[in-house]
Amino acid sequence: MIGRGAERVLGLLAAFGLLIGLYIGFVYAPPDAVQGEVQRIMYLHVPLILVSYLAFFVVFVMSILYLLRRQERHDAIAHSSAEIGVLFTALAIAAGSIWGRPTWGTWWTWDARLTTTTILLLIFIGYLMLRTLVDDPSRGATFSAVLGIFGFLDIPIIHMSVVWWRTLHQPPSVLRPGPSTVAPDMQVALYTNLAAFVVLYGYFLVKRLRLEEARCELNRLRMEGVE
């Protein structure tokens, strides 16, 4: 666990990174030739969804480690990362929906990419609910770990959905074989925002782990019969 000073530095770095990202996204990057100004939502939508993939990848790795080693800290990291992943996925879906209205003419459509992303969100909301439904924390952690591993498997399906099926959503422009289809100036804005959101994820994770630390301490005291 990192110290309070380092946590504060991480928070400041995230805030600074987001401000720089906003500046580059709104001032430095040119408007899109086809979509115009509304394409600037991409600098929010794409980093949010990519960081949610990162959060669920952390859940995947930590869940495997928890099932193998049964160490509480692995479960604590998985639980914390899943909560942040749910937040980022929900915001990415909301931002995408707002972007869809002026570009596709609709707030929502049951397109393969949108549907599989919604399934991902529902799986991880279920993951968080599962913990509150099981009384024994170690059994709850085991069930959640299994769900966390299977839930992550939806991400490759989301990624490939725009290739496998005919969709309204555009094909991958970042995580794709070959050169990116994004213009260089727009790439600078996109990757700056992505980096800022990765730091923000790290900051949220550290803060969320403090809550898990306190929860573990509370459980330990209760197990010792201090009531």
């Binding site: 906003l22 115009g36 100004e37 509304v38 600037r40 939502i41 929010l44 939508h45 949010l48 937040l87 929900a90 915001l91 909301a94 931002a95 707002i98 972007w99 209205r101 002026p102 923000l200 949220f204 803060k207 969320r208 403090r210 809550l211 306190a214 929860r215 301490e217 509370l218 005291l221 209760r222 010792e224 201090v226 009531e227």
Partner: protein, 48 residues
């Protein structure tokens, strides 16, 4: 169609979501730490 209400709407919604999450984290951590402190105080009193 004026795109700015959509752009600002998306960014403000994301900012509000993140601030609300941060506030919720702070509140939950404080509440949990208060419970831990109360139990520790109780155990010390019981021991003495």
């Amino acid at each position: 169609m004026n795109p700015w209400p959509y752009i600002l709407g998306a960014y403000l919604l994301a900012a509000a979501g993140m601030v609300c999450y941060l506030v919720s984290l702070r509140r939950r951590t404080k509440a949990m730490a208060a419970q831990v402190a109360a139990l520790q105080r109780h155990s010390k009193e019981a021991a003495s």
